[in-house]
């Protein structure tokens, strides 16, 4: 006997993500899902970004890691309101799913925020598959990784609204070909803006901040 099902396996997550999106819209907060492999410099990038956009853009952060509160501790030093999710309580998940974001977001005073940045767990595979109810996605690649990462993890780069190539201050010491890395990103996602910058020296930082602020402004207008 054959049973016809035709159901999406991640339907539960997608339903929750849509619920999150409506909840965030009601609260008037724009949500950015920031993803990368481990060690690409997301937390440093965020610390420097927060220093530039706050307090004009009132920002909160949810940071996901399997273990430790190190990232939350670093981010808290910028004065931002931050919630750490550790997924080891949930089986050491390699990504943040919509239900975890829902739980954390409800602990935050979202009315007091314009922007909520979710620093996802360092991983170029799994987080791409899980919608958390975000308005935009940003993927970070660093020059100490391979130029071909966008071709190896196409879903991540395909679904991102913008990409950052971080740690460009290290380029003189590496054989990394930045042009090739950007070209590979453009193969997967031709229209995606790519920002080449160094979170450490803040070289190349202005276009990224301009994009971020413009995105928050345009999304929050759309959300109203």
């Amino acid at each position: 006997m054959e049973i016809n099902i035709q159901k999406k396996v991640l339907e539960v997550n997608e339903t929750m993500a849509d619920r999150n999106r409506n909840f965030f819209k009601d609260k008037g907060v724009v949500v950015l899902n920031m993803m990368s492999s481990p060690g690409s410099g997301k937390t440093e990038l965020l610390c420097k970004t927060l220093a530039r956009i706050m307090p004009d853009t009132r920002t909160g952060v949810i940071v996901g890691d399997i273990c430790t509160t190190n990232d939350a501790d670093r981010l808290e030093s910028t004065g931002v309101s931050v919630i750490q999710i550790n997924t080891d309580q949930f089986g050491g998940d390699c990504h943040l799913a919509a239900h975890l974001i829902e739980k954390s977001a409800k602990e935050m005073d979202l009315e007091a925020l314009d922007l909520l940045i979710v620093e996802n767990i360092g991983n170029l595979v799994c987080p791409a598959e899980f919608d958390i109810g975000e308005d935009a996605r940003v993927v970070v690649l660093s020059v100490t990784e391979g130029e071909d990462k966008p071709l190896k993890y196409p879903l991540m780069f395909r679904l991102a609204d913008a990409a950052i190539l971080n740690k460009t201050d290290l380029l003189p010491y590496l054989d990394f070909n930045a042009g090739e890395a950007v070209e590979n990103m453009k193969q997967v996602h031709p229209d995606m803006p790519v920002f080449e910058l160094s979170a450490k020296t803040e070289q190349g930082f202005d276009p990224w901040i301009e994009w971020l602020v413009a995105t928050v402004t345009s999304k929050s207008t759309n959300n109203k």
Binding site: I3, K7, K8, V9, C126, E129, L155, Q187, V188
Partner: protein, 115 residues
């Protein structure tokens, strides 16, 4: 890496779709559609499903995977095509505004119950 979670969701959906009036149901086959762009490793999924379906109606069920190609539409010139490599620029007009029509599927299509 997240295949265990996906296998768990699959198991839940499959068990919930077996009619209540069947005594000791046993699933022989579970058919799924997985897009080539989905971040799922078939062997891992098979392995995870095998482990978590023990002592359930899906124990020993064969997983049949239908791979869905990545189908694209150019929003600029209307050209439709499929790709085997992650190159998303339109071969007809070189445009970059491309819509993914298929390839992200992760769906259970049917179950085959033993008589």
């Amino acid at each position: 890496m997240h295949e265990m979670g996906i296998a768990q969701q699959m198991l839940e959906i499959a068990v919930a779709s077996i009619p209540d009036d069947i005594d000791n149901p046993r699933v022989e086959k579970i058919c799924v559609r997985i897009g080539k762009l989905a971040a799922v490793v078939e062997d891992s999924l098979r392995f995870c499903l095998e482990i978590i379906s023990e002592n359930t109606p899906l124990a020993g069920a064969v997983l049949i995977v239908e791979e869905v190609p990545v189908g694209l539409l150019c929003r600029e010139c209307g050209h439709e095509w499929t790709v085997d490599t992650p190159l998303f620029r339109c071969p007809a007009c070189n445009g970059g505004n491309v819509k993914v029509l298929s390839g992200r599927e992760l769906e259970i299509s049917t179950l085959e119950l033993a008589e």
